[in-house]
Symmetry: C2
Subunit: 199 residues, 2 copies
């Protein structure tokens, strides 16, 4: 397998006239090491993204607060269940986290065989979908968190964070975690794009 | 230039043992045509994404409604200016649309020279950033539009779409347009990923 790749690298280097034939072995080895380096970095970034995505889903999923006072008919309680956007956030971030966990074996395959193309293509395509989902969920939750903090006088929506301070803090933390995971995914996709070049 | 590429394709085909030397010219031509096809499709997708992104920004930016009744102190008026999320949406979608317009020359360069690598890398990296921005803006606006339509009883936020029906319709249209542009960008990025393979 590796011999075939060596020949490819060699001949294309010659064709481009970049290196004389004698130096090609070194060039090829460098390219392979470079690919392996990218694959290892991809794996580590993926681990970071998993932690961030699952932290976001978990923090949001466990966010609820019951106020210490209540009337005869009503108890004041806030939970992520009350806002459909936060439910969407939990589902979306769980999907992203679950996908990233399932993608780890493929990432390991790419460390062992840096030149395998099929798993790389699969990962890039699915990473892009995960990134889109993550960004949409993060943006949506951020918009609602902003409303919860500041309210909106035109629409006559009052801020609820004065009453539900702990709830708001947890929810904001979840949004920050989802942004971290989105940034990690952007780097993952850009990195995979560079690794797809057969260089 | 084209001769150099032909040699590269030829020799790598030989190295992989996929085709005998005599058949390589055909193979090489097919690969080049395939890349040119991807580049043309990329250009068309980009045009579609531009229309969708600018339509989203324009629709949202022009959305306002003044109710035909008013009190002595207050006139009932809704505009995208009133909600910071919608302001962010207009800015983000304008950036995405503007970037896509500026990327057209690069896309044309790739139609003329399907094997140029530098503009392809640049486009992929910036497309990914544009996609993230687009998805976040779309998600955020969708969350607020949902609240405007349905309100939220737990947070005591009332739906405003009963009063501001036209406003809500325009805003919802803008969100749909931004989702169309996001889907176009996903295809663009996946396509560029495939085109980056030197095959």
């Amino acid at each position: 397998m590796s011999t075939t790749i060596d020949i490819t690298e060699e001949t294309s280097a010659v064709a481009k006239g970049k290196a004389p034939l004698i130096a090609t072995t070194t060039y090829s080895d460098g390219s392979k090491g470079y690919k392996k380096g990218i694959a290892i970095f991809d794996f580590l970034l993926r681990l970071g993204a998993i932690v961030a995505a699952l932290a976001a889903a978990g923090t949001m999923g466990s966010s609820e607060q019951t106020l210490p006072f209540f009337t005869q008919f009503f108890q004041f309680r806030a939970s992520y269940d009350d806002l459909p956007t936060f439910q969407f956030f939990v589902i979306a971030m769980s999907i992203v986290g679950g996908y990233l966990v399932l993608s780890l074996p493929f990432s390991i395959v790419l460390i062992i065989r840096p030149s395998a193309v099929a798993p790389k293509m699969l990962l890039v395509a699915l990473d892009i979908v995960a990134l889109t989902l993550n960004a949409a969920a993060g943006g949506a939750a951020a918009a609602v968190v902003y409303l919860a903090h500041n309210g909106n006088s035109s629409a006559n929506w009052l801020a609820i964070c004065q009453q539900f301070g702990d709830f708001c803090q947890k929810v904001s933390g979840a949004v920050v975690a989802s942004f971290i995971s989105a940034v990690a995914l952007v780097f993952l996709v850009v990195l995979s794009g560079f690794a797809l070049r057969r260089h």
